[in-house]
Amino acid sequence: MSVPHPGGDPNARLYEQLKTDVLKRVPQITTIQYVPDEIIAKQLRATFDPARLPYETGPELPTLSISCYRQTPHDWFRVDYADPNTGFHAGWHQDEDHPDLGVAHFQYGTDGATHRRRQTFDHETPSLILWEIVDSLLDDVLPPDESG
């Protein structure tokens, strides 16, 4: 007989783990908040220092909003970058919205048009998936800083 798996909620500490495992370690991120507050904790919201992003933008603070829920067979999450200066947005979603694109999809656009495509991740661990997303955001999705 196998040892019973200790029960409990895999979501209990998830946001705090994403915060300490990833968001607090990203130099471009300046603040991290729970939304609406740390008691209800529906979402995490990180803000970027616009001066440290790999492109020129305005003074408003771009944000990364993270909603995540551990469930079977696939964890559910939406990670959304939004730049209020330009209207640019990019999202990595593992939800039920576009089953034609598979389990997860990536979407991006500015104001009106949103483009979507299938997305796969190299990891299964939520913190490591968030690292993949932040890495992709800063290295690929956002254009390089021409002045650098």
Partner: protein
């Protein structure tokens, strides 16, 4: 500001050895991240591969996590596997709330808000649980948008119900979870 080009595929980026993750985490960090978020019992090999670290140091970190009660070891199968004790994480989260700047009254107010939200969903959809709400998604009279909305509410409901358990625990055990300086003050 210049226009955003077509972003590259994620797998193109994650293949590089100089990723942000490798720059800002150690192998031991990644093993701890993976170990605390396992969704099923896994072997040392699996954890090492997921954490992109070598086997022996992974094994040493896992042993420490077992010694600290963060991971449980199961040696009953053909391979030794490990699984996190999520009960411990729930208690840690309640302790974090206890240690935050919030008062017990604030936690109680938020708890009431969360319970009110669930009561509203029960009334709105005439169901008693998230799974009962999910069962209504098959209703052919609903639009695709309405079905999606119900799935979303069911997930939020489930999440809120778990959050209520943690906040309730923190309130119920407010004195027990008090930092030692508070207890010392209370005892004087």
């Amino acid at each position: 500001m210049k226009a955003h080009p077509e972003p590259l595929c994620m797998s193109d980026a994650s293949d590089s050895g100089d990723s942000l993750m490798s720059a800002h985490t150690t192998g031991a960090d990644r093993v701890r991240m993976v170990a605390r978020q396992l969704s099923e019992p896994r072997t040392v090999n699996w954890i090492a591969s997921e954490a992109e670290w070598s086997h022996e140091p992974t094994k040493r970190v896992i042993k420490r996590l077992v010694d600290d009660g963060i991971l449980r070891r199961d040696e009953s199968g053909s391979h030794t596997t490990y699984y996190p004790d999520y009960r411990q994480q729930a208690i840690q989260e309640a302790t974090r709330l206890r240690d935050s700047d919030h008062s017990v009254e604030e936690l109680t107010d938020r708890l009431a808000e969360m319970n009110d939200q669930i009561s509203e969903w029960k009334a709105e959809f005439d169901v008693e649980s998230p799974n009962q709400l999910r069962a209504t998604v098959a209703d052919t009279a609903l639009s695709a948008e309405a079905r999606s909305h119900r799935r979303e509410i069911a997930r939020q409901w489930e999440r809120l119900a778990h959050r209520i358990e943690i906040v309730s625990f923190a309130i119920r055990e407010w004195e027990f979870l008090a930092p030692s300086t508070d207890q010392a003050t209370a005892g004087n």
